[in-house]
């Protein structure tokens, strides 16, 4: 039976996420600077509903991935970025933009960026998984190193492609790299991301006890009967695919995958059976809140890029959390 404290924490998190969703659905700042509260009618309302669906799906996928990776890698700084998937997606988009430029075609935007982003993300993930195989199983240390190196190579490729792009096309690529919550998403990408988020969260919750064991040393985990190899492989692939689906939908989004598990852990504790769903809820709430905040702040250039909001606010929030929980994040 679940303990009472984690359930209360989960409920608190769900309420906070609902407030973020309501804020995004009902409050915007118009171009003349006034805050408008209320439901805007079906046409504009549909934009807001779609944006919330995107933010919740992507945030949940990043939150669940972050929680699982922090447990499997036994590293509180692990996030979906360590798999190199985000950099791979960026390289996919950069080279697609370059190819379009060389072919004299219009720069790919919006949903057209989903395919190259996904291809780049999956290619990077495949390389990382291949590199980190040891004796038929994935080795966590090699996986982190492989992810960092593949990510660095992909980032370098992006830089090369960006340098070769004409200036008027660079802005689109730079804008994509800041991350975005599309108001008119590609429904296929949204469905894939939502399915990945739900699947990974469900898997993480179902295998919660095994994940708890995996947080111990390899020998301890084996001594209590946990087969680490197959579970690690399944979880790493699941996290990689979920992150790839997120990047294809929204571009790279910083800090949510790192921060959400820490928020969840502070409220529900470190048992993965409830931590993974809680991290998914926290991720959904955080990303929706960031998108809502983005609608309200105008410092002169129109809407702030999403990546700027998640990095600035997420970074500060992470430092506060780190100070409060550094002593015992796994407690």
């Amino acid at each position: 039976m679940m303990q009472r404290r984690p359930m209360i924490g989960l409920a608190l998190m769900a309420v906070a996420s609902c407030i973020a969703v309501a804020a995004r659905l009902l409050v915007v700042r118009t171009l003349d600077g006034s805050l408008v509260v209320g439901w805007p009618g079906p046409t504009l309302g549909q934009f807001r509903v779609d944006a919330v669906l995107v933010a919740c799906s992507a945030g949940a996928a990043l939150g669940a991935s972050g929680a699982i990776l922090q447990t499997l890698l036994r590293n509180p700084l692990a996030s979906p970025f360590v798999l190199g998937v985000t950099s791979g997606a960026g390289a996919g988009v950069a080279f697609a933009s370059l190819a379009a430029s060389i072919a004299g075609m219009a720069a790919p935007t919006g949903a057209a960026l989903g395919a190259p982003a996904l291809a780049g993300a999956l290619l990077a993930l495949g390389c990382v998984l291949l590199l980190s195989r040891r004796h038929g199983a994935l080795d966590p240390i090699t996986l982190i190193l492989g992810g960092v190196i593949v990510g660095a190579i992909a980032s370098a490729g992006s830089t090369v492609a960006e340098a070769l792009l004409p200036p008027e096309r660079r802005g689109l690529l730079t804008g994509w790299l800041f991350g975005r919550i599309p108001e008119v998403p590609d429904m296929g990408s949204l469905a894939a991301c939502a399915a990945a988020a739900l699947g990974l969260t469900g898997l993480g919750a179902a295998w919660g006890n095994r994940l708890d064991g995996a947080a111990l040393s390899d020998d301890e985990a084996r001594s209590i009967g946990i087969a680490l190899g197959p579970m690690r492989t399944a979880m790493f692939i699941g996290c990689g695919v979920a992150t790839a689906a997120t990047v294809a939908l929204c571009g790279p989004i910083a800090f949510v995958g790192l921060l959400a598990p820490h928020c969840a852990r502070a409220l529900v504790g470190a048992r993965n059976r409830i931590l993974v769903p809680a991290a998914a809820v926290a991720g959904a709430g955080l990303l929706t809140a960031a998108d809502a905040l983005r609608q309200w702040i105008d410092i002169g250039g129109g809407r702030l890029p999403l990546g700027a909001v998640t990095a600035v606010f997420g970074g500060v929030a992470f430092l506060v959390l780190l100070r409060r929980t550094a002593a015992g994040w796994m407690a």
């Binding site: 171009l31 934009f47 219009a106 070769l164 689109l172 804008g175 002169g300 250039g301 129109g302 809407r303």
Partner: protein, 278 residues
């Protein structure tokens, strides 16, 4: 390990020898005789303007995006190759920036060149920059430059003298995902207002919008400058959508002064036609 190190050392030595023996940068020439201008331009807009003033043959160094194929690529404003620039023995180095570049100034001083920095953003910037630039070119042996500048300004005046018919607010976008607009005080806004039009965006600069912002603005027409498919939601923002492939409106250069108004007149015709059901 030793054979590998030896191979690496040999390869490095061969590469060094090849580099030492290499001819000067392609296109590098000896210092110009007399006052003949040798121009390095680190701005595509300035290169285009120089070419329109008759100085195409004098451009010896350029960025990858400048349309002056005979000139050597010397990098970009942020990442210029100082050695390549020095090897070209320029007399004029042109750049667009709001900051100084001391290293470039040093290279220019040793080469006997002068660095000229402009900041073309509004129509008035380009107009005001034409005469001094033409004077520099004329001093560098391009005698027709000043007459060309006067001619460009006259053509510009004639082009903007004809008013547009669309007086209701129009939204000009140069990106649709996310929507990014030409706001107040930009060169497209300058041209359109001078020709009697109204910009739907009163905010200054190039604001990033959301689809909801665009629909709330409810402009009389949405004009998308550039190529590529238009998103379906634009139909909800305005019954009139015009897409125009007009590179002259994507760069504040002399071409924008002369051809920009013509592109905007085409836009005006399309809007009028769409509004009248044609």
């Amino acid at each position: 390990m030793q054979p590998i190190l030896a191979s690496l050392a040999t390869a490095a030595a061969l590469a060094f020898a090849a580099a030492c023996g290499r001819a000067p940068v392609e296109g590098a020439r000896t210092p110009a005789a007399g006052n003949a201008a040798r121009i390095v331009s680190l701005s595509p807009a300035l290169t285009r303007t120089v070419c329109m003033l008759g100085g195409q043959g004098a451009v010896v160094g350029r960025t990858p995006w400048c349309e002056a194929p005979d000139a050597v690529i010397v990098g970009t404003l942020e990442d210029r190759n100082l050695e390549a620039i020095a090897a070209l023995h320029p007399t004029l180095i042109l750049r667009q920036s709001s900051t100084e570049d001391p290293a470039l100034e040093t290279v220019a001083a040793t080469s006997g060149a002068s660095v000229h920095t402009w900041h073309f953003d509004r129509v008035e910037d380009v107009r005001a920059g034409l005469a001094p630039l033409a004077k520099l070119l004329a001093a560098g042996g391009i005698p027709g430059a000043e007459a060309a500048a006067r001619d460009l300004l006259e053509r510009h005046q004639r082009a903007i003298a004809a008013p547009v018919r669309t007086t209701l607010p129009v939204l000009f976008l140069f990106s649709v995902d996310p929507p990014m607009a030409f706001g107040a005080g930009t060169y497209v806004d300058d041209l359109w207002r001078t020709m009697g039009g109204a910009n739907a965006i009163s905010k200054a600069g190039y604001p990033t919008l959301t689809a909801e912002d665009v629909i709330r603005l409810a402009p009389a027409a949405v004009v998308v400058i550039g190529r590529g498919a238009l998103p379906s939601w634009i139909g909800s923002a305005s019954p009139v959508q015009v897409q125009v492939d007009a590179p002259d409106l994507l760069e504040p250069s002399a071409r924008m002064l002369v051809d920009g108004p013509a592109s905007l007149h085409r836009v005006d015709e399309s809007i009028a036609s769409a509004r009248s059901g044609g």
